[in-house]
Symmetry: D2
Subunit: 309 residues, 4 copies
Amino acid sequence: MKYGVMRPGHVQIRVLDLDEAVRHYCDLMGMIEMDRDDQGRVYLKAWTEVDKYSVVLKESDEAGMDFMAFKVVSEDVLDTLRHKLVDYGVAVTDLPADELKDCGRRVRFTAPTGHQFELFASKLQTGKWGINKVNPEAWPRGLQGMAVTRFDHCLLYGPDVPGTTRLFQEVLGFDLGERVITPDDSQTLIGSFLTVGMKAHDVAFIEHAEPGKFHHASFFLETWEDVLRAADLISMTDTPIDIGPTRHGLTNGRTIYFFDPSGNRSEVFANGNYHYPDHEPVTWTADQLGKAIFYHDRVLNERFLTVLS
Amino acid sequence: MKYGVMRPGHVQIRVLDLDEAVRHYCDLMGMIEMDRDDQGRVYLKAWTEVDKYSVVLKESDEAGMDFMAFKVVSEDVLDTLRHKLVDYGVAVTDLPADELKDCGRRVRFTAPTGHQFELFASKLQTGKWGINKVNPEAWPRGLQGMAVTRFDHCLLYGPDVPGTTRLFQEVLGFDLGERVITPDDSQTLIGSFLTVGMKAHDVAFIEHAEPGKFHHASFFLETWEDVLRAADLISMTDTPIDIGPTRHGLTNGRTIYFFDPSGNRSEVFANGNYHYPDHEPVTWTADQLGKAIFYHDRVLNERFLTVLS
Amino acid sequence: MKYGVMRPGHVQIRVLDLDEAVRHYCDLMGMIEMDRDDQGRVYLKAWTEVDKYSVVLKESDEAGMDFMAFKVVSEDVLDTLRHKLVDYGVAVTDLPADELKDCGRRVRFTAPTGHQFELFASKLQTGKWGINKVNPEAWPRGLQGMAVTRFDHCLLYGPDVPGTTRLFQEVLGFDLGERVITPDDSQTLIGSFLTVGMKAHDVAFIEHAEPGKFHHASFFLETWEDVLRAADLISMTDTPIDIGPTRHGLTNGRTIYFFDPSGNRSEVFANGNYHYPDHEPVTWTADQLGKAIFYHDRVLNERFLTVLS
Amino acid sequence: MKYGVMRPGHVQIRVLDLDEAVRHYCDLMGMIEMDRDDQGRVYLKAWTEVDKYSVVLKESDEAGMDFMAFKVVSEDVLDTLRHKLVDYGVAVTDLPADELKDCGRRVRFTAPTGHQFELFASKLQTGKWGINKVNPEAWPRGLQGMAVTRFDHCLLYGPDVPGTTRLFQEVLGFDLGERVITPDDSQTLIGSFLTVGMKAHDVAFIEHAEPGKFHHASFFLETWEDVLRAADLISMTDTPIDIGPTRHGLTNGRTIYFFDPSGNRSEVFANGNYHYPDHEPVTWTADQLGKAIFYHDRVLNERFLTVLS
């Protein structure tokens, strides 16, 4: 949290059918619908999150990610980071408060990979869902399906991962927690796992010719047992699976990938590496990319390579 | 245990290189080498087994299974079952005591699927490995790798699964715990999971044109966490993986498949259904075979179809 | 299953308030209410059981166990075992079919420990709850609370454990799976864990001066994670806890003990030892009883010694 | 990490017998001995830690904690924090580099609770133990016992928890992640769980009349399964147990407490709450302290109240 960026705050995901999507993210994954707006967008939270929502679903003709946002510690920090972006040569767009319901003003910019990111400092805090503020129980009864605990990160594909990484490091204070480099002398960065706290990653990028591609949005579970339960629910609901249950080599997460009805990939995972600023990046070489991504199979399945615009 | 057959007693597996095989079954899977004989065969046990060994490794030019044996409760029962086999029209071969070290006489026969099976009543009991007879600790320290707890069952491929199933039921007192039938009116049995105790299966058969094929030998773990640990060890040791960690639809086991250095498939798994004699067979239809075998992926991977002679 | 006894079939538990008891066994423990009768008794099943019910709750002024029953494989076996009991000098009472709803005739007798046991061969089979007969999912959605999978065993206190053990062995074909003996030369049996299948115990007895005491009825869970979840639910519902989560030394189960609103102790547990007829009994000495019962604390808590009439 | 404090860096623990202590922290808990110095101190690390050591054992006539240290991001930050401490009215002592082997200079101060703390910026980094720097395996083979992953936090008893909390917040930039307050109108802080990253706590204090008391040093495990394994090992090694396996209400960790041969309490735990700077403190009231500390038993055992000087 070097420069005041705290965590992933929300992601807006485009879906082809809103009702089907709500069933996926709520009934199957266990998020809670918190609100809708006059654009028809649906606001969802995971139960441990204190802010009102972390996922915004928007109906569209094409699946994919509209934008991902990070919450910063204060409006002052938001101003500072806005200036730093502009000074760095990044164009910013100011979005007014309440363009997203109950969210303060947002500062939007496009990374070299072609993805839209936002910073914001304020969002209505409704507290953890389903437990008391004082003397809280360990978890709420009444959660659905996978009972994901929080929106964790996104994995995104696009060009110029090195430039995007520098932007996140120098302007926003992210650390390079883990990375994939080419095995040649150039050690070119082709996979960048960036973190702004102790997590193995808050956002990750893989080098890809086409800009702005969306690989997945990821949500945190508590245990490997929960990953199995998620896998079982995927099967029971005829949800298309990508891969898993398995482990990542990079980040060490225990994971499963699957698809929402629009084709957006979802991940749920548990455990994984932690990061501190004095840690050297965990490094994998591209010739070991299969094992880096899917530690057990040690090859990339073809589906993994599919990304959405 | 209707007619006195207790459990799988041992399996003799052919391997191309004995040292590599010992590393696989002992260093990786956690079995304990108990003895060798003058044929060069190696005798292994898993730690919870009271008999001296359950796996016999034999060096050969071709991988696969030589025979699988069941232990019966007494020499009298062994006589009775020998007679029943003969009366049923099954040719039997008598093997003398100590043809396998510290094992009593064995009665061998060939099932319609082409596999060799044996019955025996006596084997030297060395007790559970690494814990005291009195006031035993929960588990022994010093186990290697996956620390498998017991040899559990084999899955075998061959012709005439219905006839083989009848033989095991009528002569040996097995129950049909779980099954795969064709979805047409004939409801032909193409997969048969036979049990002689409370386990979901002690031996299983899949219909296959060629006789005597070996799919895998399976070993029991305690937990889903152990399946992950097994998967990690598979990757760390560059062991070829087949599929998993995943769950079976049939039997409900939590499982992973991988290969020994000779190409024999090994399974380790945890949990799963239990059986009693008044249970109707758990039934899957062949059109759902993918989900029946691999509950999460819901398709058979190509490797699954590979079997050894 | 030497003489045709299969498994624990049901237990009738006396409760002080029926509604409170139903909340305990159904809302908290996850059993399913299947029926009530004109005596006001409530019939419950756990989801993996194929018979219609395994627990019968009866309102009474005094908590405790009325009787525990074992299911045998056929009416013929029931006749045979009835004769064997009489020949052994045990008085039997015949209860007509449907005295318990949808249950066949029962043969009741009293063990030397003072507990009433029953044998029966027939009960309406409703199948596993919540999953299809063909191509079943791995588990049903909609289970409540701890989602126990089956009624597993009872632990009972009373005099003459050696005599009771002989009766169960010689007449009913149980094995002594695990035991506690005095550390002196007499090696007197003071704890007897009897099994009629592969489980570590189907019924257990502890030597105690007063006859007919009820320690607990036990239910099976799938995993240690489920034991934690049970513990959390115990706390959330202000249910009195006895001890746990912990492990038993005897049987090796992963367990927690707690009380229903009438003061009857319930256990839920996962994993544990398996048994075969050629296994010597797992033996603990009475001077290690604390570790034998509660493997981690290695002392008996005072509450453990409380038993109900 | 508001003011540049990263994490707990080390704790120096006094032990009555060094060899016994090494067996406890290494053979049982799975730390790795890295070095010894001419004072006879032993330096230990847990395998995921990048710094050379995190625990220092020192032989003494009296058990307890000598000091706990936090690592800061740079020598400049160390200077700044030193000045802030002095300005806040806290006396500091400067310890030269290499007073602890391979550690830079340390700034020591005493908190109002009577405990000695240190700040330092530099320590030799030996990297994670047992895995490669590039393309690392998921975990190292060869770990002993509980295989703890990192030194996590200390719980300390002493007077003036409110003042100590303010010092950690205002001078060192810690957040109050969780807290216990009196249930009266004064809402006096009697339990303070302070964090400087995303963990539920990096150090915690309980109000206590006598200063400088040591409750426990805590180490992180990966899973609830590991907590069971730890409990089993505690029993196998005749290690005195305090309580567990259980869950904390505060922090939600899955935990077990036990004692080293000198009487110092150790904790190993897994999972637990995460914290961000915009989170209100998780709050428990003192009348619910039993449940706050031991979520399942809901009472404090007497042993919990024992603390060392």
